[in-house]
């Protein structure tokens, strides 16, 4: 009796949804096809690739471990300092911008959008490109690298921090307002305690990523182990390249371990 009322064909998606999904599939496939056609792949190079890689590894062996103390260690330490100072600077700069971008703290939408624009721009420009810019301004060296890391991280920290702010609960703020607290106290006693764990977690996360980023900034002259790597690459000293890559790998792993340990014990 009830079947008459049903359309006995069942469709998973409405026609409008199907069109939309199909459009996306079409765009993806079209994009891939066009890209494959215009990307230049020289078949000889591709066929040659395994030999080239084997040759590369052959030249890297034996790894020049003796080079580490005099050539690598200082640069590695410089890399850590670049990462750490850059992260700290970015925290200081991102905090106000993140505040301005959060709608519940700063109700003015144009200001929100402007702050978000700053954050998006910071994220869109790669740390390597930031490094190029700062090398142009401040000259080669670790200062340029530190500023590059800082300016790139502002977007990251600001975005995640803004999200954390938007997720705070309104209750404590309401209570403070009811008690007549001024704006600064509202921030310090209402919002800050709620976002503090998230903030330090974001800071640790970004520091971890920045260690990885700092290692390559030297390729454009912004200090750190990247410069040693660049020099070794330009002189085709592959055994030194190998020890530098190994050092970078170890330091990245160490940073991850440190972050995991600190997370567990402190956060």
């Amino acid at each position: 009796m009830t079947e008459a009322a049903h359309d006995l064909a069942w469709r998973r998606f409405t026609p409008a949804q199907r069109i939309a999904r199909f459009a996306v599939y079409l765009a993806i496939i079209a994009g891939i096809v066009v890209s494959i056609q215009s990307v230049e792949v020289i078949p000889e190079f591709l066929a040659d690739a395994p030999d080239q890689v084997a040759d590369l590894f052959a030249r890297m062996w034996p790894i020049d471990l003796a080079y580490y103390p005099r050539g690598v260690h200082a640069a590695l330490m410089e890399t850590i300092h670049i990462a750490s100072l850059g992260t700290l600077l970015s925290l200081v700069l991102a905090l106000p911008i993140g505040l301005l971008a959060a709608h519940n703290l700063c109700p003015s939408t144009p200001v929100n959008l402007f702050a978000k624009l700053i954050l998006v721009s910071s994220r869109s420009v790669n740390s390597l490109v930031w490094a190029l810019l700062f090398v142009g301004i401040f000259g080669p060296g670790a200062l340029a690298g530190t500023l590059a890391i800082a300016f790139r991280s502002i977007g990251f920290v600001g975005k995640l921090f803004g999200e954390a702010l938007e997720e705070t609960s309104h209750g404590p703020i309401e209570a403070l307002d009811a008690a007549g607290a001024p704006a600064l106290s509202r921030l310090a006693y209402g919002y800050w305690p709620q976002v503090k764990p998230a903030f330090w977690s974001i800071a640790l996360f970004r520091w971890d990523i920045n260690v990885r980023e700092s290692a390559v900034l030297g390729l454009v002259g912004a200090g750190g182990i990247g410069m040693t790597l660049d020099a070794a690459l330009n002189l085709f000293q592959w055994e030194r390249v190998a020890v530098i890559l190994l050092a970078i790998f170890v330091i990245v792993i160490l940073a991850e371990v440190v972050v995991t340990v600190v997370r567990k014990r402190v956060l």
């Binding site: 009830t2 079947e3 049903h6 006995l8 064909a9 069942w10 998973r12």
Partner: protein
């Protein structure tokens, strides 16, 4: 139709959860298994379709011993065994219709299932079943937008969709409020009667069991201590099943 012979299960060697269970389930009627928590009711039900592997014994279903079956043969056998779960176990992000149709997954090739190309008779039957459980209007809703009682109805529809030879229900009403529990039990009873499917239900609630079941099996400490019609279930027997520390072992 379904016979358990010397069925035993130990999760930890030396501490059996099921001791030498021997049961014959007839081809019609509602059988309720009662007993306190931890007494092996859930293990028993899940051993039947080998969601839990028995340690020993035989499970004879429609002439086959399920215990020795290969994975492929076991899948074919499971098609004929419908199961309703305490926490409904619907795929929450899928729609009600997709959940009901998933009862037919044992009959449809994976490729057609992926593309959601089920045969029209299945779709017609799915709509019919949704009507029987009273959820025809919800066919396109996501499963997680439904209430507990509604979800269990979908679970029942999914199980009946398999056109099973037997329906197993593992504490189907334990997560529901008293009124909804009665509705679900009534639904199971109606389906059992209208479609002539035997139902085996695990339950906590003795009153519900007495009201709806044709046969009651009482378990204590992994063994069957009572087996008979609800009328025979005396208070003394209930005390044996539920009272005392026996079931703690």
């Amino acid at each position: 139709m379904l016979s358990l012979r010397h069925l035993a299960k130990s999760y930890v060697p030396g501490k059996p959860v099921l001791n030498d269970i021997n049961l014959d389930i007839a081809a019609r009627g509602i059988t309720a298994i009662i007993g306190p928590s931890g007494t092996g009711k859930s293990t028993l039900i899940r051993c039947i379709n080998r969601l839990v592997e028995p340690s020993a014994g035989e499970i004879e279903f429609q002439g086959e011993d399920l215990v020795g079956l290969s994975r492929k043969a076991l899948r074919r056998a499971r098609r004929r065994i419908g199961m309703v779960f305490q926490e409904y176990n619907l795929v929450e992000r899928l729609t009600v219709m997709e959940n009901v149709l998933s009862g037919r997954l044992g009959y449809v090739s994976p490729w057609r299932a992926w593309r959601r190309k089920f045969p029209p008779e299945d779709i017609a039957r799915a709509f019919e079943l949704l009507g029987v459980v009273g959820l025809a209007a919800f066919a396109g809703s996501r499963a997680d937008s439904l209430s507990g009682g509604q979800r269990q109805r979908v679970g029942i529809a999914r199980a009946v969709m398999q056109q099973p030879a037997v329906l197993l229900a593992d504490e189907p009403t334990s997560s529901l409020d008293p009124k909804t529990s009665v509705e679900i039990m009534q639904l199971l009873a109606d389906i059992a009667r209208d479609r002539d499917i035997p139902v085996v239900i695990n339950m906590h609630d003795v009153e519900l069991a007495k009201r709806f079941a044709d046969r009651i099996i009482g378990m204590s400490a992994g063994s069957v201590v009572f087996d008979g019609p609800p009328g025979n279930l005396s208070d003394a027997t209930l005390k044996t099943i539920y009272g005392g520390e026996d079931w703690l072992q």
